[in-house]
Amino acid sequence: MSTRLAKGGRFLDKGKPVTFTFNGKRLKGYEGDTLASALLANGQVMVGRSFKYHRPRGIVASGAEEPNALMNHGAGGTFEPNQRATTTELYDGLQAGSQNHWPNLEFDVGAINAGFSRFLTAGFYYKMFIHPRPLWKHVYEPFIRQSAGLGKAPKEQDADTYEHFNVNVDVLVIGGGIAGLQAALAAGKSGAKVLVIEQTAHWGGRAMVDEPLAEGRIGGAPVDKFVEETRAALEKMPNVSMRLRLMGAGVYDHGYVLGYERLTDHAPTAAGPRHRLWRIRAKRIVTATGAIERPLSFAGNDVPGVMLASAVRDYVVNFGVSVGDRVVVVTNNDSAYLTAIAMKKAGLEVPCILDARPEGGGALMQAAQDLGIPVETGKAIAKVKGTRRVTGVAICVQAGEGAVLKEIACDAVAMSGGWSPVVHLWSHCGGKLTWDTGHAHFRPDVDNPPRDDAGEAFVIPVGTANGAMHIALALEDAEMSGRAAAKAAGHKPKPVATPDVTSPQEAAMEPVWLMPQGAPYELRMKAWLDFQNDVKVSDVQLAAQEGFESVEHAKRYTTLGMATDQGKLSNINGLAILSDALGQPIPQTGTTTFRPPYTPISMGAIAGEARGAVFQPIRRTPMQAWHDAHGADWEPVGHWRRPYAYPRSSESVHDAVMREVKNTRQALGLLDASTLGKIIVKGPDAGRFLDMMYTNMMSTLKVGKCRYGLMCSENGFLTDDGVVARIDEDTWLCHTTSGGADSVHGHMEEWLQTEWWDWKVYTANVTEQYAQIAVVGPNARKVLEKLGGMDVSKEALGFMEWKEGEIAGIPARAFRISFSGELSYEIAVPASQGLAFWEALMEAGAEFGAMPYGTEALHIMRAEKGFIMIGDETDGTVIPQDLGLHWALSKKKDDYLGKRAQERSHMADPTRWKLVGLETVDGAVLPDGAYAVAEGTNANGQRNVQGRVTSTYHSPTLDRGIAMGLVLHGPDRMGEVIEFPGVDGKTYKAKIVDPVFYDKDGEKQNV
């Protein structure tokens, strides 16, 4: 049984007991516990079921590398799956639950899979479920989904808040162990702006546990004194910032780093955001990320109670928790002896240390033997006894094939297969690795670092993360690199005295990838590599046998390292097995790619503040609140929300649209057109410039006049349209589509800045300076005359003219333009008085039947007049010639953007579909986007087509369906009836007609 010891636990505040629940059971822990340590203290070693075979799984590690102890946390709006118990700080009221079992953790129906494990080998799903095809979707997949998988997706909206935070520093130190602190000190004393971040809640890292057990000293004092003094010194430096619970999640180009800060995970009732995503821009990044211990691959190494040796001593030293009364230690290196020493000193039994090395270890072995712990060298575990809990181990010789020498009763196994530097952050941005034969691990290849724009290394690994496995080496390395980082960031490096270090030297480790080395299949298929994804030694060997030679392919075939822990424990062991199976050295096999984030980070942190009201900016016109108060049904147009229609209480949206069209044609309609783009173009070369931007001639436009213009890309495609007004000799005002204002302005500036930089033209986007209101209908002039201040008579303000003055006492620019075919004025007033002007119009217009109308009525009225709409009649592949807009293409100009492109053979091809009007034979409305079919079929057996619908509406004016479309030889086929099959199964027949359905001679607008 694991239990709480009477003494020990340097993180605990035993004066502060807390209560939490696990699978509904109330348990007790202390402040300072992690969920994992508290579960162990309550005798709960088994914490979940494995992904594929549903084998019982226990806590393996004590930190971020934990593969098994994944929990559901919380409930409702704070429910979150897949949380590692080893990095979850305990708090009062924590609710945790185990995952991937049914009906419960102790009795799990899915465990039957384990009985079939002989058949569920690597690639089983690929081989088994490929035939017959339909069975996958309906039988296999639902079954596998039920049986495989870890946490459940949350069902409610996240109740917490999140945010981002941007900082710029000279040197970012990731990792707050002794190497990180020393590097920060060196960089800080050199004058650099330093940020040190540590993912846990404590400074000092591994050395705080290991060195006291090894009786190591820094500067003649225990390690904690060094850590405390260094921390205090850093705290005092104004150029150094320190943060706990902030993990370096990812390293990106140009020294950009994402940091993941967990603010209230340990204190969920505290105010403020739960997580904060730090977006750090650093000149140099020092990775002091330490190392992770590797498991050993022996049969039954996944039985609950088998743990990493370092974790076993962490639980004793940090949390006062023993994982068992009798712990067998199995190792290939010296560090695991510290675990034996820790257990013994805590008064627990260590029946035996199995050291796979024939010669055993160095000074630490001696120290363990001096404490009376038996050491067996050259020995290994043949297999672990027990299913839901370790009951003993069978011992064999490492060099053999697993013949059992004896069995030892025990309730936990502490294993160590050596240490792998945490190279993830180094590797994220391209840092290469080198194989260190002495320690049998990959460490950063400092000659092939991630490089900055100057070709210099911008990530500098230090300490154990750099393969400096002895504390003295680590401190020296850190001091040197901290200084180098400060220097690279432009500061004068100042050396920091490296204190004297005494700590036992370790004997050489010996790589052990399989235990025993000649283990037969029966043992190999119980020797786990990846605990979370259920990948065993035999699976990787099978993959190699089946031809998966690339480590990336073998990874995907076996799923090794593809779980939420990203193979922190399994990768090196797995690729060693793969290399052995392929008969090649490990460096030749290489590693899989390390990708950010280092451990999973919350979706909320990534989204930051962007949720709810600020999920996305919504652009509002000055009259938005009025529209909202008057029942507007909204339509998104770019980031704007525009009223689609204003349905009245009992009215449908469709009926409202019909009413708005009729009222505008018969009386008076008001449209909020403020979203239209408005760009001032000014300068001696402005006319020449606009002649290039537009297909029309704009330089000849008279002051006081307006002209409709088309804008094309350099490839000839129609991109935007609008009315251009000439303000004075040097100044034009260009109206754009609502969605096009920013892009048209950018398009103009791009040409001015890159091609015509010597032309004297300035532009300014004044879109939002004005509220613009279209006053439309037979009564339009009457209401403006009633408001007074400007002569808007036919004589004073003719069609396609504009005028500046005052209307209703508000400064106004009136444009006599029409997109509806009615008598129409667009009045621009300062945005700050837009609402006042709108309300004045509504009030004065009441007697003339004024009603607001929305975008759909606008669309219908323009379609009745055969006016094109960018985005309906155009889709990025349509040129003005397709739309019969030849009249707008100036023949007098040498050039305009798109002119030459429009002369290409495909653009001049007479078989390009051309714009026509379409009138259904029975008056029905054509389906939007429908295709007109032609005779025969194409190479794919589909019906040939000869045209498509681009706009289609019910016209209340004509009381029938009207449409526009692009049709093969359309303008030459007037009167012909073509067929449009609809998705509703019906076939619609429509006659090809002129696109102008209403008031062909323009008499109504010209009054």
Binding site: H164, F165, G272, E609, R619, P622, A764, Q769, S832, Q833
Partner: protein, 189 residues
């Protein structure tokens, strides 16, 4: 004649870790021209009463502020009622020169964020370096705040002035409130 109304009517909020206020109506003029032309500089000085600001900086005096927007663009901040006169002065002083002066007072919204945590609130929303030694009173940035373009400067210690487009004023206000929620002090700057 109706009174001009700013985008949010001067709304304020102080329930978080800083004070947030929409200010305005604020007079604003976009001015483009050749900064190297001494006559342009003199014309600006005479009309606005301020010397040319340096790159990414503002000049402040009395009620007028002159902001550097780009190598050929300035933004003049002045009392709303002064815009017409100042525009006229600029236009006449720059007659014959290639320059553009245009009223953009109503095209924008202006916010003020004040308090010891103002810097941190801003740093939550913009990638610009806002460390006290990197961003000081009188400096000016055109950048983004979350998902919208914005420009800002420190009018005085702990008091940022932010200019954004009028249409996204509500977004900006909601954004600042979110970033200033109670308990969200970072404690970094």
């Amino acid at each position: 004649m109706s009174e001009p109304v700013s985008a949010l009517g001067g709304v304020t909020w102080a329930d978080g870790i800083a004070q947030i206020a929409e200010i305005g109506p604020q007079g604003m003029i976009t001015l483009r021209g050749d900064f190297d032309d001494p006559e342009f500089r003199v014309a600006v000085k005479n009309a606005v009463g301020l010397d040319m600001p340096g790159q990414r900086a503002v000049q402040m005096s009395g009620e007028n502020t002159l902001c550097w927007m780009s190598p050929d663009e300035l933004l003049v901040l002045c009392p709303y009622g002064d815009v017409a006169a100042m525009l006229a002065a600029l236009t006449s002083a720059l007659a014959g020169h290639h320059a553009l002066a245009v009223n953009v007072s109503d095209a924008r919204a202006v916010f003020r964020v004040t308090g010891p945590y103002a810097r941190e609130i801003m740093a939550k929303l913009t990638p610009a370096d806002l460390a006290p030694d990197a961003f000081k009173t009188g400096m000016f940035r055109r950048t983004r705040m979350a998902q919208v373009p914005a420009a800002f400067f420190l009018r005085e210690t702990d008091s940022f002035e932010i200019v954004c487009f009028r249409s996204v004023a509500q977004y900006m206000f909601d954004l600042l409130k979110t970033a200033a929620q109670p308990g969200s002090e970072v404690g970094y700057f």
